[in-house]
Symmetry: C2
Subunit: 221 residues, 2 copies
DNA sequence: CGCTACCTAAATCAAACGATCAGCTTTCTC
DNA sequence: GAGAAAGCTGATCGTTTGATTTAGGTAGCG
């Protein structure tokens, strides 16, 4: 027998073209999953939006569940990367200014990637394996970092004295909702929630409520 | 005169037992629709939760779409009724106090009926006939009343100077999100979002951010 | 060249879907 | 108390779902 065979596991070389279509599938999956929910998102619709045939999804991903997890991983990793990069760039800046800018960064990301909170609200309103995985892997770390930041801000009086858990849901509710409900917002208010000025105005509004006027002095006696 | 036959169209008497099961179906439909979305909510699951057989849904409602609309009608009518009743009870009370209590009422309702915002986020992130119907029939009136109230509050300085459209999405995001994501909140924070103290604490938090400290003096020079 | 990764095309599977029907039981009415 | 309608059920229709299979075609690499 070929002694050379057993020593070589599958070298598993992926060609560049594979990554491209994998990426297209993941992007399409994100859109469809976030818009129609896990059950409502059919693999045929995802394949159609990605411009590939349906069996190809099972070629690249073993199941619909695995595709969902892969797509969610991409999105949340992008969010975490962007936030940590921003935080890294703010080393040395005072805590309150830094927090303000991180909140703005978070709102900007949510506005340009409304799929994040669409998926969270899709999966986290019911207990289930999808929520377990999502919370454990992605949401919990984000929550802990955010809550500790908010607690520190509240302690030093930079934001109103509100328990961090409530502040967390106020922030993650007030920030992204306008963009999650983009089509409704357009219809209801006439504003275009994908426009930069609207995103900035919303970040201004949330920061004004949380931190007070921008000049830094808050509740000045 | 007793021509009895031709003069009597279908008398269409509904028996009391029918209303009971209709109500059970509507309640179950609300839960399942809000949790799994329109596509993900199968008529069999709804029937099972209501404790009836599946063909009975088509006996009481001509189609899945009609069942959805009927269930949503019940919920949003209840919300509007509760808010207008509260507002009616506040005639004569000064505008700011009245607004504060209406915001608390809204948050209380959202906490005890998280299906409202679950359904809104389900249907309003994509253009479609369901969103058209929902916005036109239920959300638009609520938005206009809320926005005009917020505009008036901002004008008189009772809340920070933020355009009403942004304030609306801040309020409808910050208020209900904690309860929409109830299972996640339980897991993440250890808080029980269905407990009265938690609901009150969240209403306190949102009102503190919006209106400032309860004593009425805000940004006092 | 030959091998393997990548991808299309078309057909198919069991399961679950919304919807419908004939028929049974209950309840009101005359 | 008999007849009719309302209320409800089991069986079943055609469709769509996720997934798999078969067959074939193209491109990169040793």
């Amino acid at each position: 027998m070929e002694s050379t065979s057993a020593t070589k596991p599958p070298p598993r070389v992926t060609r560049p073209s594979a990554d491209a279509t994998r990426g297209a599938i993941l992007a399409a999956a994100l859109d469809v999953f976030s818009e129609r929910g896990f059950d409502g998102a059919s693999t045929r619709k995802i394949a159609a939006r990605a411009g590939v045939t349906q069996p190809l999804l099972n070629y690249h991903f073993s199941s619909k569940d695995e595709l969902w997890r892969a797509a969610v991983d991409v999105l949340f990793t992008r969010l975490a990367d962007q936030l940590t990069a921003r935080a890294a760039g703010l080393r040395g800046v005072d805590e309150v200014t830094s927090a303000r800018l991180l909140v703005r960064e978070f709102i900007g990301f949510s506005a340009r990637n409304p799929q994040v909170h669409r998926i969270i609200t899709q999966e986290c309103k019911t207990d289930g394996p999808q929520m377990d995985w999502l919370v454990e892997r992605h949401i919990q770390p984000l929550y802990e970092a955010t809550a500790s930041m908010l607690a520190s801000l509240a302690e030093r009086g930079a934001v109103p004295a509100i328990p961090p858990a409530h502040l967390y849901y106020i922030l993650t509710g007030a920030g992204p909702t306008m963009f999650v409900l983009g089509p409704e917002c357009r219809r209801l208010t006439g504003l275009d929630p994908s426009a930069d000025e609207v995103i900035e105005a919303h970040a201004d509004a949330v920061c004004l409520l949380l931190f007070g006027p921008d000049d830094g002095a808050r509740h000045a006696p």
